[in-house]
Point group: C2
Chain length 406, copies 2
């Protein structure tokens, strides 16, 4: 009888100089880990190498000895630096053979677009002898699977839409066949603003008894901290109890619970957008130092934004500027952060309606940050201010990085 291993090792192997040298961000890696996690499958590791044939061959050999399943991404294009199929063949001492079936698909693909197939694309129909083709209904790079050193390798295209479709439709079902039934994972998340990661962690470690098998993780994207508890489905009642305790600890800084959009980069904007729609309020936005980030996040969250302005210079009379734009555009609320002063990190948050203009002189007292981070912090303060305004809460919440001036 076969020996069932307690943990299947699945690695993603990302290929390409532009990924190794960080010229592009490996969004496929992020997506894959998250997608498989939701399906109860845990990626154990990720490995990245460049476009070098001998390195690729060595890596396929070595990583196939270390893993049960290897998902290889990239290197299936038509150009001379796309080497995955060739490396796979050489790693297994095989030759490349022409897959007539895929060649026909390629010719059809170009015909449908009113073009002849460029000769360079023939390469995309050449697969290692032992490989089985995996269909790509939306692109020219087919995938394939094969065994090397008893590890199951899936080769996938680098284009994100093609990669995702192939993983969902073709590869996930195969992985499930090879993956033992496991206790599926529960994952609870919440998002806070205004405290540091170590400060939160220390309070939680000190007060709570965290059961074994349950892990608490933190993710900081200044000034937002996401807190996550992960544990087995079988410990749901312990998880629920712990989660209530955690929520009471973070209560003053809680922005929202759960995940609001795929990568959760602008969850706060989604919360604000929903509040604006629910309360039937429209906004105009005025930005300076944040250079459009508040507007971009709210627009992407489909908030009722009537108009947005970026005014690079300091405003002499901000209150009347806000009120004027509010009237001109017939909006309910004007919101913005303006007049940021480099020398002392002071700035003004304004939330204006036709009835009143709320005006806060604030000072950022956290450690110095990159300009981009500083912009993210200002945008988050504005969005949180608007959230609090809409919820009838004090506009400035508990926040270790902010001092209220005057």
């Amino acid at each position: 009888m076969a020996n069932i291993k307690d943990r299947i090792k699945i690695e993603m192997l990302s290929t390409g100089d532009e990924v190794l040298y960080g010229q592009i961000i490996d969004t496929n890696a992020a997506w894959l880990s998250d997608f498989l996690f939701q399906e109860g499958i845990i990626i154990t590791s990720r490995h990245t190498v460049g476009d070098n044939l001998s390195t690729l061959i060595d890596t396929l050999q070595e990583r196939s000895l270390q893993n049960d399943i290897l998902i290889v991404n990239g290197g299936l294009g038509p150009t001379s630096d796309d080497l995955s199929a060739q490396a796979a063949a050489l790693a297994n001492n095989e030759s490349l053979v022409l897959h007539e079936e895929w060649l026909k698909s390629l010719e059809r693909y170009f015909l449908n677009r009113g073009r002849a197939m460029p000769a360079s694309n023939i390469k995309q129909a050449m697969l290692p002898q032992s490989a089985t083709l995996i269909d790509n209904p939306i692109g020219t790079a087919c995938g394939f699977k094969m065994k090397v050193n008893n590890c199951l390798l899936f080769f996938t295209p680098g284009v994100p839409s093609e990669f995702k479709q192939m993983i969902k439709n073709e590869i996930l079902p195969e992985i499930k066949l090879n993956y033992p039934l496991t206790d599926s994972k529960l994952c609870y998340r919440l998002t806070t603003m205004g405290r540091t990661e170590s400060d939160l962690a220390q309070e939680i470690d000190a007060i709570l008894e965290i059961p074994e098998n349950i892990t608490i993780g933190y993710r900081a994207a200044m000034p937002i901290i996401e807190l996550k508890a992960t544990g087995p489905e079988s410990q749901r009642s312990e998880m629920d109890k712990l989660w209530q305790q955690i929520k009471s600890i973070v209560n003053a800084n809680l922005l929202y619970e759960g995940v609001l959009n795929e990568l959760d980069e602008s969850g706060l904007a989604h919360v604000v957008s929903k509040l604006l729609h629910d309360k039937n309020q429209s906004v105009v936005i005025i930005e300076q130092q944040s250079a459009g980030i508040i507007s971009y996040q709210l627009l992407e969250a489909d908030a009722p934004v009537i108009k947005s302005e970026i005014v690079p210079l300091l405003l002499d009379d901000p209150s009347s500027y806000f009120t004027k734009l509010l009237k001109e555009q017939g909006a309910n609320i004007a919101i913005g952060i303006i007049n940021f002063q480099e020398k002392n990190s002071q700035f003004t948050l304004i939330i204006a309606t036709l009835k009143k203009v709320l005006h806060f002189n604030l000072k950022y007292i956290g450690r110095s940050q990159s300009k981009r981070t500083q912009q993210q912090v200002l945008a988050a303060i504005a969005l949180d201010g608007l959230r609090r305004y809409l919820l009838d809460m004090p506009i400035i919440g508990a926040n270790v990085w902010l001092e209220v001036m005057e």
Copy 2:
């Protein structure tokens, strides 16, 4: 006599659930590869694992057998999911010992900030017995180095500013001591817009004889394609000759040569900003579908932007809207892309001065893209239009994705 290996293997080991599961982007990895490349040192691979003690121990063992130098990043913080020092000690069968020297630094760090050191930070002064401390003058996580299986391991903090400073000041000099003198690399780059990667690659492969040791790489960030030739310093004359030939092939689509900013994400905006300053022209920007991306890129490139507006709704009379803003703000040029229609991907590019309003009805004819990519494409078309306007070139260049309407 020692046997000198022809290639030193250097791997970066990124740790952390949030990196493995793609919740944060591994910007340290991108930065490190690029920084070392500029110094003539090539990272051979990158490996990523999560915050699991036994996986970390196994990985340190295994990767130290495969490499000469391992740069480990992350897991040095004060919280319970920071496990790097503990894993390093266990991988080498050592215990953790308190470094009094670093404990004093920590106490000083907190004292200077008017706080007592939280107890959880003591952990950051516990290092494996054989480790040598590496100073971190700006944070609480010291680095350290040690040998495992004859591989030299450097442990570094995850906070980007601390990581970069430690690599530059402490680790680079040590790597150089361990790295054989190599022929340093030449890397030429140029950036194009309006052709696809495979189209460019096919023409170049067909026309040019690429010498061995010289590699041509492509990086596509829709709609921008960067082309890069890399080869040894000793082949400079072949490189120069090849580069001239490549430039004559891409000429109609060339945006600029070289690297304009660190990650080159908005090189085009930097080109436009420089032209605006050189010609003493100021701009106002009006955006709709691009939701502020044109403005953000130009502002970040320090362009003379007087004001920027994002108008979510279609404009009835765009010409007069642009002219009005131009006059009100006393700018020289009003630029923007507006009235994007989802149903047919048509939109209008306007470049207006007080003398004339240039008005182009365009249609995007590339394949369908994510909304973010679509926004990037529109922003690039606007920026390239402005660049061409400032250079007295036809506003719409050779572009396989664009059709001029009417």
